[in-house]
């Protein structure tokens, strides 16, 4: 009996490991920044380059930092979701326009609508590196103390909003 049970157990364990492995996304690199303070920066605002924005301005508020670009294909998919979210007025969304041309970025927002309270321009992608951005779009949930609580890699979907982001935002706002 033992000679059948043992290989069977080994097989099941292997199968479970491989099955879980199949469902993992190797493109999703867990961010070491979750639980840490959002890196500081001061960047010119996209629409009014004379004015600056810094994450420190957001102390005391829960907010989303969405990394986007007019050249980014998945951002198109994400855009209506962000528009809907901004209409619902639940959490302010700030945009980090990553490695973009100002004219392209403004045209993109004019065409598709602007879900952001404001966007800042990271033309050279330096702030992106500081935030560990490696694939646009990415979205950070930042709490009242300025700590990154969650990072969404890839587009925000209605599912990720209802399952993860909005419950987290509500919880953080209540704190």
């Amino acid at each position: 009996m033992m000679r059948f049970i043992l290989p069977f157990v080994v097989f099941v364990v292997l199968a479970v490991f491989l099955f879980v492995g199949l469902n993992l996304n190797p493109r999703e690199v867990p961010s070491p920044l979750v639980g840490k303070s959002a890196p500081a920066f001061t960047l010119p605002q996209l629409h009014e380059p004379a004015k600056q924005f810094s994450p420190a301005d957001m102390k005391g508020q829960v907010w989303l930092l969405n990394v986007w670009a007019s050249w980014c294909v998945s951002c198109k998919e994400e855009h209506p979701v962000l528009m809907e979210l901004s209409r619902r007025n639940m959490v302010p969304i700030y945009g980090l326009d990553y490695k973009d041309k100002q004219a392209d970025a403004e045209l993109w927002l004019k065409k598709g609508g602007d879900p952001y309270v404001l966007s800042v321009a990271d033309a050279e992608g330096r702030i992106g590196i500081d935030y560990g951005v490696y694939g646009v779009p990415e979205t950070y949930v930042i709490d009242k103390q300025g700590v990154i609580q969650y990072k969404q890699i890839g587009p925000v979907t209605p599912q990720s909003l209802t399952e993860k982001i909005l419950p987290l935002v509500a919880e953080l706002q209540a704190k």
């Binding site: 690199v29 070491p32 992608g125 935030y131 560990g132 490696y134 694939g135």
Partner: protein, 163 residues
């Protein structure tokens, strides 16, 4: 006219020069150091390429970042620490030994030990299972006779001739 043209064309290489590697020429020693470090780092976009060989835009930006940090006088370890704090251990081709990577580092050796253990166990079990076969006196006499026949050269030659 033709000679003038040939003369002009032959002068062309004088004005031609390589346009690439703009940032490399500035400080070859630093560039060498940067490439050496970048070879140990993984590009986040094309995940099986090193930062040194990748042509992804992010890789270029990261190389610029590494270069600038080197110019600021940071050590290789400080730069690696910075990148790990931003992108996680994933940027390292050589994962550090931690509790979460213990299985990765020592798992193969554990498997090897388990395999060796099973092998030794099975071999011991088999030795006890295969008992020395008992041969009757008659059988051993016949065996000796057969061996005798075939081993003596004359017998073999005789057989060959018959055949």
């Amino acid at each position: 006219m033709r000679y003038l043209l040939i003369l002009m064309l032959s002068l062309l290489p004088v004005f031609a020069h390589a346009g690439e590697a703009k940032d490399m020429a500035e400080d070859p020693v630093l560039e060498q150091r940067m490439i050496g470090l970048a070879e140990k780092l993984r590009c986040l976009v094309c995940q099986n390429e090193s930062l040194a060989s990748s042509h992804a835009e992010l890789a270029e930006d990261l190389r610029r970042e590494v270069r600038e940090q080197m110019q600021k006088g940071m050590t290789d370890q400080e730069i690696i620490d910075y990148l790990v704090s931003r992108y996680g251990d994933f940027v390292l081709y050589d994962p550090p030994v931690k509790t979460s990577t213990l299985v990765l580092w020592y798992g193969p050796f554990a498997l090897l030990l388990i395999g060796a253990g099973v092998l030794v166990y099975q071999l011991r079990k088999r030795r006890s299972q295969i008992a020395e076969p008992q041969i009757s006196a008659e059988d051993s006499r016949r065996a000796a006779e057969l061996l005798d026949q075939t081993n003596s050269p004359e017998e073999l030659n005789k057989k060959d001739r018959q055949a």
